[in-house]
């Protein structure tokens, strides 16, 4: 991944938002196995505004647009997801600041800030069957892959695809975990045996972003 401009951020955010809107029913179904079945719908309430109003957002800097998304989520998304995703975007925005170009290292720093925000807000650690269990290994992979020289040539396409694949596998890996957070936590032992909705969503979103990225850069 070479230096990226705002229009790369646009691509990522638009793709992410559209993927969430399109998969709302699927995500909600996942959440209804041991959760309360609202995960996809809650996120959709926010991301459909991102889809429809994206053109009106202040995109003078990466920080500005991430902040705007964070505000939209805080205003529209309920349940655990609102504060978790809202905080993630606000922290990411702070990390991005007024940058208009991002290096690979910038991207990783922004993602790490988002993760720190999620952990701060929700108090979850790895292994507690949350979206962190897909997001964190995916970021680890992205960081390692971007460090390889090939990443410059393909604009990070392969690295992103590898990260997305890791997210999908990691989401699958939440199956045997005992849910410790969110509504699913109340089910205790019964939460074992089904994937976490949030982690699965991270895999689906990253796959979409990776596909869009490859279309642009390959």
């Amino acid at each position: 991944m070479a230096a990226s401009a705002i229009d790369d951020v646009d691509l990522v955010l638009r793709t992410m938002a559209k993927t969430i809107v399109d998969n709302a029913v699927y995500f909600a179904e996942l959440d209804s196995v041991v959760g309360d079945g609202d995960f996809g719908y809650s996120l959709r309430n926010g991301f459909e505004v991102v889809v429809s109003d994206y053109d009106t957002f202040d995109r003078s800097s990466v920080g500005a647009v991430l902040k705007k998304v964070g505000f939209v989520l805080s205003g529209k998304v309920g349940g655990v997801s609102g504060p978790i995703w809202g905080t993630a975007f606000l922290r990411a925005s702070q990390a991005a600041g007024d940058k208009t170009e991002l290096t690979g290292a910038d991207v990783i720093a922004i993602l790490r800030a988002a993760v720190a925000g999620i952990m701060h807000r929700g108090g979850a650690s790895l292994g507690e069957k949350t979206l962190l269990d897909a997001l964190v290994p995916a970021i680890d992979t992205l960081e390692a892959e971007l460090a390889r020289p090939e990443a410059v040539q393909d604009h990070g396409s392969a690295a992103l695809q590898e990260a997305a694949d890791v997210a999908v596998r990691a989401a699958e890996g939440t199956k045997p975990m005992l849910a410790m957070r969110g509504r699913a936590a109340y089910t205790g032992e019964r939460s074992i045996g089904s994937v976490d909705a949030g982690a699965t969503a991270v895999g689906v979103i990253l796959q979409s972003i990776s596909a869009a990225w490859r279309e642009k850069y390959e």
Binding site: G35, D38, G75, G78, G79, P83, G86, Y186, R190
Partner: protein
């Protein structure tokens, strides 16, 4: 889905508009934040009491906004806590020099929205305190880091602090009273059927014709165990065997006894359960000071009931007996 509904995503706003229109000027409605609030609030000499939580538990909590109960409610979608912004804007709008009390049921979503909302309000110089309701004995504290859920016992917290604040109690007194109620209230719920959130359009879970879910959560979360449906008397035993030893409630105690319908169960059955529970408690030397048999905190149209016991002292008894004015009319 067998519901009276137009666009399912407009279910909550259309319901709230109905509450507003039915209130004859006693309530105001701010659609931007799903906000129902008393037309005569905020007041300089009264703490404002606010609850968020998800929708789908009606009459809790939008329909018990009124004098002596909640001053405002800003629910999220069905079974989802409100967005942070709702909490922030509601608190700002209801801000009083005496402070604002946030009543939060202990679910991660609700907690996070109210924590973040409170941080934002405090940055604006608003005085906020929070009460965390967690009366559900189905969930054991020790096992999960998220703690117990808040369920029907929430009603008693609202009633007590609502009555006290009408009489001019300070924010600190309300926190003390509310925590006293929370420390003495315990609930268990049992579901006989599932329920269908309008946007989802299909039941949250499957349950066989001869089964019941003991310890159900009010969002359809699974409970302690799935067992065969048994007789009303045996069900009351399950309720009491879970609730009574938990506090524990003891011989000589006076209690408020609530049989709360989860939505789809007839009030006739609730009174039937009440009668059995009343007699069994009496046999244990536990005296009912005041009875509550109705729907207080539902899970949409779920068939089922919960039993709540609140141990009362003279102060709580006085507060429970105070008048209130809410939307719902019995006569």
């Amino acid at each position: 889905m067998k519901k009276f509904v137009n666009d399912p995503r407009q279910f909550v706003p259309e319901m709230l508009e109905g509450i507003y229109l039915a209130s004859d000027g006693r309530l105001k409605y701010e659609p931007k934040y799903n906000l129902i609030y008393r037309a005569d609030m905020p007041q300089a000499n009264k703490v404002s009491i606010i609850q968020g939580s998800g929708s789908g538990h009606e009459p809790a909590h939008t329909m018990i906004v009124g004098k002596g109960m909640l001053d405002a409610a800003c629910p999220g979608d069905v079974f989802a806590g409100p967005p942070v912004e709702f909490v922030y804007e509601t608190t700002k709008l209801l801000n009083s020099p005496k402070g604002v009390l946030h009543l939060v049921n202990n679910y991660t979503g609700d907690r996070l929205a109210f924590e973040q909302g409170r941080e934002m309000c405090e940055a604006d110089g608003i005085k906020v305190e929070t009460l965390l309701v967690n009366d559900d004995v189905a969930v054991k504290d020790s096992t999960w880091t998220v703690g117990r859920r808040g369920v029907a016992g929430n009603f008693f917290v609202i009633k007590a602090v609502g009555a006290a604040s009408e009489k001019g109690a300070s924010l600190e007194e309300l926190v003390r009273i509310g925590n006293d109620v929370i420390a003495n209230v315990r609930t268990l719920g049992i579901a006989l059927s599932s329920c269908t959130p309008p946007v989802k359009g299909s039941p949250l879970f499957e349950i066989a014709d001869d089964e019941m879910e003991v310890g159900i959560g009010i969002h359809g979360e699974p409970g302690r165990q799935r067992t065969k449906l048994v007789s009303a008397t045996e069900i009351v035993d399950i309720f009491l065997n879970a609730v009574v030893p938990d506090l524990p409630f003891k011989s000589g105690d006076e209690v408020a006894l609530m049989i709360n319908g989860l939505g789809g169960t007839t009030i006739g059955e609730l009174y039937l359960l009440y009668g059995i529970a009343h007699k069994k408690l009496a046999a244990q030397g536990i005296k009912v000071f005041r009875s509550y048999v109705n729907e207080y905190c539902t899970s949409l149209e779920m068939a089922g009931a919960s039993l709540t016991l609140l141990k009362v002292n003279e102060e709580i008894k006085g507060l429970l007996n105070e008048p209130a004015e809410v939307s719902i009319r019995v006569f």
